[in-house]
């Protein structure tokens, strides 16, 4: 079965405009990276070449940026034009997104903490908002053993 490879490839293309461009130039690249049937390879080459792929890539990036923009608005504002470069570098280093908004934001903040190319304003915003994110994460983790559905869980099935 190669459906899993097809789905993996489609996900990778969506996450990487660079891979899309490479596949548009050289569709045979797909068969070097994934175990695909000829039909699947043709389908993916068509998808990569389609206008809609631009929308897929934009929405992927917007969705991945959402946790950071939501939890660190001052940091994003302070980074300004550097945000695109830095978050792209972060995504390259951490290709898999974390479904937990606070965890994902904390990972990005930690990534920035280890860099030495931030402006003083960005460093200040990072310090303040990173602390807030860590505090909220700790508060969430502290409640993790409280089960809101405890009573429902022992009820007989509907």
């Amino acid at each position: 079965m190669s459906l899993d490879q097809f789905q993996r490839a489609l996900t990778d293309l969506t996450a990487s405009p660079a891979l899309c461009r490479a596949v548009r130039r050289e569709p045979a690249l797909l068969s070097q990276l994934y175990a695909l049937s000829p039909l699947e390879q043709d389908r993916l080459a068509d998808i990569a070449a389609s206008n809609g792929m631009e929308a897929n890539c934009m929405i992927y990036r917007a969705n991945r940026l959402a946790p950071v923009a939501l939890n660190c608005p001052d940091l994003c504002a302070a980074l300004g034009d550097d945000l695109n470069r830095l978050i792209s570098a972060y995504w390259y280093a951490e290709p898999t997104t974390n479904v937990h908004f606070l965890v994902e934001t904390e990972r990005f903040c930690q990534f920035l903490e280890e860099r030495d190319d931030l402006s003083p304003q960005a460093r200040k915003a990072l310090s303040r908002e990173h602390r807030k994110v860590r505090d909220r994460l700790a508060a969430t983790a502290a409640m993790a053993d409280r089960d809101a559905f405890a009573v429902a869980r022992v009820m007989p099935p509907a």
Binding site: D4, L10, R43, N56, T97, A144, F149, R153, A158
Partner: protein
């Protein structure tokens, strides 16, 4: 015999309590995304699901007065990987807590094979291949959900920017065959269909006409935004006028249509406004009234 009036409701978000407090009599049902009721720390955590107690308590405040419907985003039934059984157990616990009339997921890929659950996120709902292999994968998972939750299961049509070329069957045919095999219902998102019409030149009449009318249990309405020549299902506005035309024309043809739900994102509550949400609810009630007054359609689909 006339059709029953579909119930009218809202997809729950943190801005909805204000609507319910101000205009709760217009809301018959609340649609809950269970995945928003907890923080998922992943399979390696001692306590994987940390509940959002405030949100659950707030929702509980309305559960006695409004019917509840479950609408998940995390199980990603079309993904070629085993279902996340821990997540399914949590969804089942939320169902026992709130008592969903039915539960829906999406006919889109949200999880990518090869990643580690729950963080194998595809980053958005990606298109799927409508073929026999996928029918088998989705069918088995629908049957598991039916057995676990004990309520009807429905799948929602998604917004697609790049359709998979040369499919074995169309999306309506896939939905019809899934229904034949498992009894799975359809959550017909008219705004997603509108987006696909704008982005991919789909014909709504052809799409709706190809559906087995029996399978539609719920309709979603919503609004979106243009994005560099594309159109997105951003849940950011009131519904486009043509969606109400489609609901008026096609709603009476769906004999099992039981709910109409308006979706919007809380970050756009200010833009839409309380008056805007109320206006959507009133339009949904007018559409539901019109459907309930219509004669029962003669079964003609084969």
């Amino acid at each position: 015999m006339a059709l029953a009036k579909p119930s009218v409701g809202l997809l729950y978000n943190p801005a909805v309590p204000a609507v319910l407090d101000a205009a709760g009599t217009l809301v018959d049902h609340i649609e809950v995304i269970p995945d928003r009721l907890w923080y998922d720390f992943g399979t390696g955590a001692e306590h994987r699901f940390s509940h959002a107690h405030t949100a659950i308590a707030e929702l509980g405040r309305f559960a006695g007065r409004h019917a509840m419907i479950g609408h998940g985003i995390g199980l990603s039934l079309p993904s070629a990987m085993p279902i996340d059984e821990d997540l399914l157990a949590e969804v089942a616990a939320s169902h026992r807590h709130f008592g969903y009339r039915w539960y829906s997921e999406h006919l889109s890929m949200f999880l990518a094979p090869g990643g580690s659950v729950p963080n194998a996120q595809a980053g958005m709902g990606l298109p799927v291949v409508h073929d026999a292999e996928l029918l088998e994968i989705v069918g088995r998972k629908v049957e598991l959900l039916q057995a676990t939750l004990g309520v009807p299961i429905a799948l929602e049509n998604g917004t697609i920017f790049s359709a998979v070329p040369n499919p074995e069957m169309s999306e309506p045919e896939f939905m019809n065959r899934l229904h034949e095999r498992t009894g799975c219902k359809m959550l017909l998102d008219l705004h997603n269909l509108y987006a696909n019409m704008r982005n991919l030149n789909w014909s709504p009449a052809e799409y709706l006409g190809a559906l087995d009318p029996e399978i539609v249990i719920e309709v979603h309405v919503a609004g979106g935004d243009p994005l560099r020549g594309h159109y997105t299902d951003s849940h950011s506005r009131r519904s486009p006028a043509v969606i109400w035309d489609w609901l008026e024309e096609w709603g009476p043809r769906f004999p099992n249509l039981a709910a109409i739900t308006f979706e919007y994102h809380e970050s756009y509550h200010k833009r839409i406004g309380l008056a805007g949400v109320v206006a959507e609810l009133e339009k949904m009630h007018a559409a539901a009234e019109a459907i309930s007054g219509a004669p029962q359609p003669t079964p003609a689909f084969a």
